[in-house]
Amino acid sequence: MDFETLLSYEWGVMMPEFIILGVAVALSLIDLFMPENRSRRLLGLFAFVGVAVSFVSLLGLWTSDVTSILGDTFRLDSFAKSFKALLLIGSALVLLLALHYEPKERIAYRGEFYYLFLTALLGAMMMTSSGDLITLFIGLELLSLSSYILVAIRKKHTLANEAALKYVITGSIATAITLFGMSYIFGFTGSTNIKEIAGQLASTYDENHQYILSLAFLLTFVGLSFKLAAAPFHMWAPDVYQGATTPVVSFLSVVSKTAGFVIVLRVIVSVFAQTPSGSSASMLMTLAPYIAFLAGATMIIGNTIALRQRNVKRMLAYSSVAHAGYVLVALASLSMFMFEAIWFYLLAYLFMTIGAFAILQVVSQHHDDEDVSIFAGLYRRSPLMAIAMTIFLLSLAGIPGTAGFIGKMNIFLGAFVVEPAHYVLASIMVVTTVVSYVYYFGIFVQMFFRPVEHTHRLEWPPGVIAVVVICVIGTVLLGVFPNIAYDFLAPFEHFSDFLQ
């Protein structure tokens, strides 16, 4: 490759990534040369500004055509743009939370937190744009490795250490399984480029390859379900959520999960959607029942076990498992507007989850654990925040008027419009949603009907207030005017360029 080709690439399309990379590198150097005792909040602000600038540059690229550079390993299509937007918004909100995270014990590695956070984000962003299995995998690992350390950032905290170790071990198992699956795909096609793979598989149909190819599908999908925290790879979630700090948890449950869906869609949909299959038009459709099966299992497991949790973080962990299940329903039903439905759901999920974690962060600040009783009498202590929390929980439960409802409705309709309709899956979704009311309402009961147990004043730092306000606005606005979000997707024409 000579210099001319190099210059001929439109490097501009990588601008958001470059900004994040630059800020991450700069932060790590600044952190090293900053006096030990200076507050690291400045670094956090810098990181926040970096994410914001990156978002602006992404908006600048919003209407650009599909561009692919570096020999098709990096492509900026509508899918990449829309999901990058989710990742950046989520990260910005989480960073705002992290700025004000003041646990009882001092965290020695604050600086590390910020730039590892950015590298994790970078990995996730790379995944959205990858056109190659290798870069996808590198992105995935960059995200994973960074988040392992983020979980362990409270170095002296036993639970955090335990959580991090469990996270590493399960993560490695997942990676192994994913790679195993991918290696089959590579073995069949002799290429790591997704476009080429899809082309090869679409043109050559061999009855004998179906079994191995399906095996590859199952392996890859199960391995990737680790990042989604979906069954059967959900079991790390509660332990890790409990051990990690609240900003990290909100990062894991929003940004990392979004990235998980990104890679699933990239690999599974682009590789298998066009592959012919014996019984139906595409292999993805033949194998959709397995996704549906896992989606159903995920919803059931997440919502039922959440019933038994008293620790709010664990409960939210199971609730996040359940939400992954809802989104998988959209994937399993493979409707026309699958991408929109998933995107919208993740956007709604972003607002309601980060909002809930923001409030949890302040409420649990002076407690050793996050037992649900810390919410007792919140309505008397800070009524507005109790109302905000109510909105988030209502949205998580999917009550009309909130973004969560619209998201669920989209997925629900998607399950019905396809032929044949997924009645079983849709009814599992409804039933488990009803089950979820029980544990969400448990928090309402604490907030509104229990006497105040802890009388110390709750301090609401400006950053947290900002996050809560943004999330409330997002949740309610998207619930009332969902088309605001869809207007952003308007230039993309239903992600028609995804498979091109």
Binding site: M1, D2, F3, L6, L32
Partner: protein, 121 residues
């Protein structure tokens, strides 16, 4: 299809051989050797010396960190060497890539240095 299956038959044969060989060797040895243990025979073999403490020894954790750093730079060399050999062919792009790679590692080194990894303390 036959070729496909046949090539796996070879793998299978080797797998069986691989499993059988140690089993057969150890079992055969067990039957052939005499069994007459005494105290001197059961001590740990340390190059002929009498063992003088527990076989588990604590090493300073710094060895590991040095070892890690060593591995990183070792890998760097492993990457640099083939690149240097084929430098003419690879051109400017590879040069830039290598520079990025080296700079990243350099930042890592600075990190290690600032975190006082390089000091034996």
């Amino acid at each position: 299809m036959n070729v496909y299956v046949n090539s796996y038959v070879v793998v299978f044969v080797f797998l069986c051989l691989g499993i059988l060989l140690p089993i057969v060797a150890l079992t055969a040895g067990r039957f052939l050797r005499p069994h007459a243990p005494n105290a001197a025979k059961q001590t740990t073999y340390e190059s002929g010396l009498d063992p003088f403490h527990d076989s588990r020894v604590q090493f300073n954790v710094r060895y590991y960190i040095f070892a890690l750093l060593f591995v990183i730079f070792d890998v760097e060399t492993v990457f640099l060497y083939p690149w240097a050999v084929a430098f003419e062919k690879l051109g400017a792009f590879a040069l830039i890539e290598m520079l990025i790679f080296v700079v990243m590692l350099l930042i890592g080194l600075v990190y290690a240095w600032k975190k006082k990894v390089l000091k034996w303390m």
